[in-house]
Amino acid sequence: MNTENIQKDREAESIVLQRLYQDFQEEMRRIEEEQQKILLDMINRKQDHE
């Protein structure tokens, strides 16, 4: 192993970490979209009620 390999390992680990984070963000984005839909539905309900 040399310092170049250490650096390559580091980069590979970083890519995996970023990938995990991206996947997480994607899940969160879907949740936020659903929240927006619920909010719109609630606004519509309130307007109907009024």
Binding site: E13, L17, L20, F24, Q25, M28, I31, E32, I38, H49
Partner: protein, 389 residues
Amino acid sequence: MNNFEEELTHPSQENRTLSEIERETKEHPREKEESPENRRETKMEEAFAEAQEQFGQESEAVLQNMRSASKSVAKTNEKLAGDAGAIPGEAGDKLRERIRALQEKVSQTWSRWSRDTAAFAKVALLAGAPVFLPQYDAVEADKSVRGYEQTDKKEETFEEMRDRAKRELSEQGITSEQKNAYIPLISKTLQRGIEPIVDFSKSDIGNIADKVVEFVPNLVRGKKYDESVYESQMKEMMQSEDAFALYLGLPQQHETFGISDYQPAMSKEKKYYFKLNGYFGNSPEEQKKRIHQLLFSIDMNSSPENPNEASLFENHTLTNHTISKGEDEKGHYISYYDRWDFEYPLEGKQGFFGKPFEVYDRMYYDPKTFEPIPDKSERSIGSDNGRGK
């Protein structure tokens, strides 16, 4: 050269005067660092330490970002739930149900991804200096988000939970609870690399050494069981593979396990148990022989303090499990219990790379003839203690 001559030629540190040591140090300052080889080693050590530190910081930052994002989304949910409370009727109920489901999703997402990230970081650092991460062992139990999950989780009765688990196992080969054990990259790597079968002719160390030697070739080629060697054990091997798969959060492939209708009376938690299909035999004749055999084992191997229970070393799937006999208003029955885990260094104290699961089932019988008696009632909680090994 005797010791005395050796001491004269190369005096030990203790026998040299301070001035001698000082002079030597002055004459050969940083002698070790001067050699090109040592310089390269030092440089590598520094690079490695730096890489480890960077990785530690990066993992920590990712986890912190995940935690903040989860809290923020959970907060929005709380606000939505508050607003939805003011909407009357069926429409309001539907909205509240959607919000509740979303809350569940937030909690699951946080739990799952933070666990995966922490697990990956831990594995990546295993090869190097363990510079950080003990604090992340408890990452799953982060109260700030998981407390939220607990309060909003829909309550299931035991029967509902059991029936759902049966459905999931039949349709997907795994239950929701076991699925949580899945870790991207790691679970499938372990499944591909490790043969979960244990060779009883070898010591624990012998088995561990074998697993390590097999691991890399298995990763490259995939596992290949030699049927001519293991002919009589192929069924048990497939069963062990299924057990290992469930442990890792992956679906079983050979329908080895089902969900038991029963749970032991000593079980304080409301939970379902897996059962090993065919444990008691597949036909009434086989079952009769099996019941007889198990009762005989209990009589032979139980202790005077606990005459209704014994340990049984039997097959590769359950290895050392507990068998018990009991009686309730329905009649006499015999039961077995095991906690399936993987007792190698791969597993941390909490089963870090997988999720141990419990196996329990029972069968009623006629104590005079040992004939099995099918249980058609809905009752499902026994009077045996169902303790593990």
